[in-house]
């Protein structure tokens, strides 16, 4: 079995989840409370990575992150290296790919915060930012947990996108889902099944951890 691929998968899923939680929270906050024309349109754009087949996202990401794309060029000027076919590259891809899953449940949680709590925070002198960190976040733990679960699992399953952007370099960008794909293509259904089964305990442990964190916040 391909342990290296499993390890890369886990590392990717953890990094993606952490990065996305940090990025998505302010985005969701903004999308919940800001009022401006074209908001639904922006929101639709934000959710687009989900509506597109992974290969298409992968294709556009390659274009952007390749040596001719602007992200690729900016990155090259900054670091001298290429973003494609590196671990960092697949992190970027996986983050883009999972944005909607992170934003949407958080937004749902933020919407449900009791207006009276926000008024109390306001009267107690809290700025928008402090209100976010001291009132909104701690009262949205269930929604944030939902986000984290979706993002984590979704990046484990991410495949089409990573396949494109990663180039399947062992130990660096070759994730377990690619190993499964290879096994299926080679008609080695047993190996595919075994690797797939590995995800049950992984998801299980992750869910337990999230549930613990979540109820810890409430108890």
């Amino acid at each position: 079995m391909d342990y290296l691929a499993l390890y890369v998968t886990l590392k990717l899923a953890v990094v993606t989840t952490v990065v996305l939680m940090v990025i998505a929270a302010p985005v969701a906050y903004f999308m919940t409370y800001a009022r401006f024309p074209g908001k639904s349109f922006l929101e639709a754009l934000l959710y687009l990575p989900m509506a597109l087949p992974p290969t298409v996202i992968g294709f556009y990401l390659i274009m952007l992150m390749g040596p001719k794309g602007w992200i690729g060029r900016v990155w090259e000027t900054l670091t001298g290296g290429s973003l494609l076919f590196t671990f960092l590259g697949i992190v970027v891809a996986s983050v883009v790919y999972s944005i909607p899953f992170a934003v949407q449940p958080m937004k749902a949680a933020f919407v449900k915060i009791d207006r009276r709590l926000l008024e109390a925070a306001c009267v107690l002198g809290l700025s928008k930012t402090s209100t976010f960190f001291r009132v909104i976040l701690p009262n949205s733990l269930a929604g944030i947990a939902a986000s984290a679960v979706l993002v984590f699992l979704h990046s484990i399953g991410a495949f089409g996108v990573l396949l494109m952007v990663g180039g399947s370099i062992p130990g660096e960008t070759k994730v377990a889902s690619i190993a499964i794909y290879e096994a299926v293509e080679m008609m080695d259904y047993r190996t595919a099944g075994v690797i797939a089964l590995c995800f049950i305990p992984i998801s299980y442990v992750f869910l337990l951890a999230i549930n613990k964190l979540n109820s810890g916040g409430r108890a």
Binding site: P67, F85, L163, M164, S168, V184, E185
Partner: protein
């Protein structure tokens, strides 16, 4: 006229669409195609997919299907060639593809997965024959399909890629330049007709058509022979 259901390996998609149109015009039999990876299509067939004809990207799977009794026999319908393609026309300045690859400016080259894609196996063989495989290890990027290898090359994500000759004739492919890779063995693609095809007559007719003169012309147009 009953329609005909054909499962086609994704690398053959361009040529197939044109052939299907031609066949329809000539015989009036409507052709409905599913394009996917050979592995995928094989799994579907094993699980009862009602395909009348299967155009595989290799010879292995039609053989297995024959053993399993799905078909009475397979035949070779196309041979593909591996080329080394680059979006950068300067790439082809060197006298041979081996030298072009060894240029220090070349950072990444793509090839299809040697384990799962026949074109990948063939490309790898050429690299091994020419003694370049080990030296280029760190520069190779593995694409899962031959089409993806071309995507890498055409978006300049890699400097060059081993792709199918058929890619070079597409509008996108004409924007770059390529070397033939004679060291790479031909990729042999076999097809087979289901024993219990719903439209057995049409399926046999299509099998004949695949080997006919007009079909050959289309195949050549798309880089098969």
């Amino acid at each position: 006229q009953d329609k005909l259901s054909v499962a086609v390996a994704a690398n053959f998609i361009n040529a197939f669409k044109e052939m299907a149109a031609d066949f329809e015009e000539k015989t009036g039999v409507k052709v409905e195609a599913t394009f996917s990876s050979t592995g995928n299509l094989y799994s579907q067939i094993k699980n009862g997919a009602p395909y009348d004809v299967f155009l595989s990207a290799d010879t292995e799977r039609p053989d297995i299907l024959q053993k399993e009794g799905w078909t009475e026999g397979s035949f070779i319908y196309a041979r593909g060639k591996v080329i080394l393609w680059s979006a950068d026309k300067n790439f082809c300045q060197a006298p041979s593809w081996q030298e072009a690859l060894q240029n220090v400016k070349i950072k990444k080259i793509a090839l299809a997965n040697p384990v799962t894609a026949p074109y990948g196996t063939s490309s790898k063989e050429a690299l091994i024959k020419t003694g370049l495989w080990d030296g280029l290890r760190d520069k190779t990027v593995i694409a899962q399909t031959i089409a993806q290898s071309f995507q890498y090359a055409s978006t300049s994500a890699v400097d060059a890629g081993f792709v199918a000759l058929s890619a070079s004739v597409s509008p996108e492919g004409q924007k770059g330049c390529f070397y033939a890779v004679p060291q790479a063995p031909d990729v042999v693609q076999a097809a087979c007709v289901a024993k219990n095809a719903r439209n057995k007559v049409g399926a046999d007719l299509f099998a004949c058509y695949l080997l006919s003169g007009p079909a050959l012309k289309i195949k050549q147009k798309y880089g098969y022979h």
